[in-house]
């Protein structure tokens, strides 16, 4: 009651209006990009066509000719999906062991894993180029998959650990009584119970892989170049190509933004390593 009484008539109207205004303001740049992607390059820079224009799909249909979009998109999909699967393949057993059979060192190992995430990428840039070139894997998808997996492994282990930790141990013990081995425990108990946690970890890792811009730009030239590299290499000076640039940008971020909407909640746990719930 007291809470309700505090809301004056004014704030009842002004509050939602303000909230909507802020929401729309933050979304505006994305809206503007999507809108520009439906203008021709010539119209995109003319003020008289700012909001009134004849929409065209030409920028999207020409994406392959203009930018070779699908080759970069294919690379992004292959590297991100493979890296996500590989990360989970390594992280799930690790987090499982840490959550259900913690030893005295578990906490320290988790902390150490997180600390690898804080290593500034630029500090090890040259050694990475050097090693990749001497091993002959520079500009290969294999290299990008490995790097993406390694930079996301700590986050995946942490996220999965915080999910697994919440599963009651009794259930696992009951499974052991029934004669399940470790693999059986994972398959019969852990995966069904932690399915949501595993899925959202996968989603988050995938988003991070997709958006990664440092290593994918610095360790590729042509063969393994991803969408980040494509956009970075086509930053259209002097606005000649705003329309087509917007189209390729929209195509690059659209799927991920939509995916992101579905994992807002998990994002908090994943990004704060379980410290804010």
């Amino acid at each position: 009651m007291a809470i309700v009484a505090q809301h004056t008539k004014f704030s009842k109207v002004a509050w939602p209006v303000l909230a909507w205004a802020v929401g729309l303001l933050f979304f505006f740049p994305i809206f503007f990009m999507v809108m520009t992607s439906f203008k021709t390059d010539a119209d995109a820079v003319k003020p008289e066509f700012l909001f009134r224009f004849t929409p065209t799909l030409e920028n999207y249909t020409n994406m392959t000719n203009n930018y070779d979009y699908w080759r970069f998109a294919t690379n992004s999909v292959i590297t991100s999906v493979t890296a996500t699967l590989f990360t989970l393949f390594v992280a799930v057993p690790c987090a499982y062991a840490m959550a259900f059979n913690p030893s005295r060192g578990t906490k320290d190992i988790l902390m150490w894993m997180l600390s690898t995430k804080m290593l500034p990428a630029a500090a090890v840039l040259y050694p990475m180029i050097f090693m990749a070139k001497s091993l002959g894997i520079y500009d290969t998808k294999f290299l990008i998959v490995m790097v993406l997996s390694l930079i996301n492994l700590p986050i995946a282990v942490w996220m999965l650990f915080t999910y697994f930790k919440d599963i009651p141990k009794d259930i696992i013990e009951a499974g052991q009584m029934d004669g399940l081995n470790t693999w059986g425990e994972v398959r019969e108990i852990l995966i069904p119970l932690a399915w949501g946690g595993i899925a959202s970890t996968a989603l988050l890792v995938f988003i991070f892989c997709w958006n990664e811009a440092y290593w994918t730009v610095r360790l590729t030239t042509i063969d393994a170049a991803t969408l980040s590299k494509l956009i970075e290499g086509n930053r259209a000076p002097e606005g000649l190509f705003f329309g087509r640039l917007s189209a390729v940008s929209t195509a690059a971020v659209g799927p991920i933004v939509v995916l992101g909407w579905f994992c807002q909640k998990q994002l908090v746990q994943g990004l704060t390593f379980g410290a804010v719930k």
Binding site: F26, V45, P120, L150
Partner: protein, 312 residues
């Protein structure tokens, strides 16, 4: 027996991989930072291969330390990181409180607000510097031209005309210039990361003790003192986490710097290293070690805080 072996076995791949990732490249950087090592040199071809016989001791560190551009890069790194932190925390708290109340369409507003966070950094930078901030062809150019037209129109208006005729022409700002490019980066990253702060602070607000708040209202506490003495202390921890996580991410900003102005006026530490890597590996490595030290100062605080709550 088997009880201990299997868990260890399961953890091994992750630990080995990360150990490799942590130790091998970093020890190479450390080694390179103590030798003379350049990629191309006609006078001293012996420096072009990494060898212990080119030992330089702390020479690379000394060289980097005495470069003005190194200090400029540190200055830019800190300016960019601190400005973004300041803006995202203030905006984050305000917006989190704003949308913590129920109102029609709250779910949609949340979705709109969080969206910028998922935009890839390269697209973020291209979008802002071209379509939005370009002084002539971007939205900024259009808006400034529109404002000038409006003022010109009002100059001929009856009563207020004499007032508007005193107004100067508005000049659009070029955000690719040396003086302004850092602000362009700050702006676009703030846009992208404010949603992150909002998301975390909002999650934390939902666990705020409502009974305590109601008691405070019954006692006649003002809105401000409720915020100051109940909400803000409750948010202290999540704010600290937001600050530290962002600090770690933003210390390594790269794509935005590259796209906005290729380091002109906003060159931060990673970008400076990226330039040195084109030839002077020794100096690049020494700068890298400085960057590690800087990141560690932040990391220690974060790990301490997370460590406390880890096993709860």
């Amino acid at each position: 027996m088997a009880n201990r072996t299997i868990p260890r076995l399961l953890q091994t791949p992750a630990i080995v991989l990360l150990l490799f990732w942590m130790l091998v490249p970093l020890s190479m950087t450390l080694f390179f930072s103590f030798i003379r090592y350049v990629l191309a040199s006609t006078n001293r071809p012996e420096w072009t291969s990494p060898s212990i016989s080119n030992w330089r001791g702390f020479g690379n560190y000394q060289y980097v330390w005495n470069q003005d551009s190194f200090w400029l890069a540190i200055h830019n790194s800190l300016l960019i990181v601190c400005s973004i932190l300041f803006l995202t925390v203030i905006l984050g708290v305000a917006i989190a409180i704003l949308i913590n109340r129920t109102f029609p369409g709250r779910g949609i507003v949340r979705v709109l607000l969080i969206s910028p966070f998922f935009v890839m950094p390269a697209v973020n930078a291209v979008l802002w510097i071209n379509m939005l901030l370009d002084p002539v062809l971007g939205l900024q150019g259009t808006a400034v031209a529109g404002a000038n037209d409006l003022v010109a129109l009002l100059r001929d208006a009856p009563v207020v005309g004499s007032f508007f005729s005193l107004w100067p022409q508005f000049e659009p700002i070029s955000f690719r210039a040396t003086q302004t490019s850092a602000y362009a980066v700050i702006m676009m990253v703030t846009w992208q990361w404010t949603p992150f702060a909002v998301l975390i602070l909002m999650t934390s607000l939902q666990s705020e003790d409502q009974q305590q708040k109601e008691a405070a209202i019954l006692d006649g506490a003002s809105r401000w003192s409720q915020f100051r003495f109940l909400t803000l202390p409750h948010l202290a921890r999540p704010i600290a986490i937001v600050v530290m996580i962002q600090a770690i991410f933003h210390l390594s900003l790269y794509a935005e710097i590259e796209i906005v102005s290729r380091g002109n006026g906003n060159k931060n530490l990673p970008y400076y290293i990226g330039e040195l890597v084109n030839n002077n590996i020794g100096a690049a490595s020494a700068t890298g070690i400085f960057a590690v030290i800087l990141a560690n100062i932040v990391a220690i605080f974060l790990l301490r805080m997370l460590g406390k709550t880890l096993m709860e």
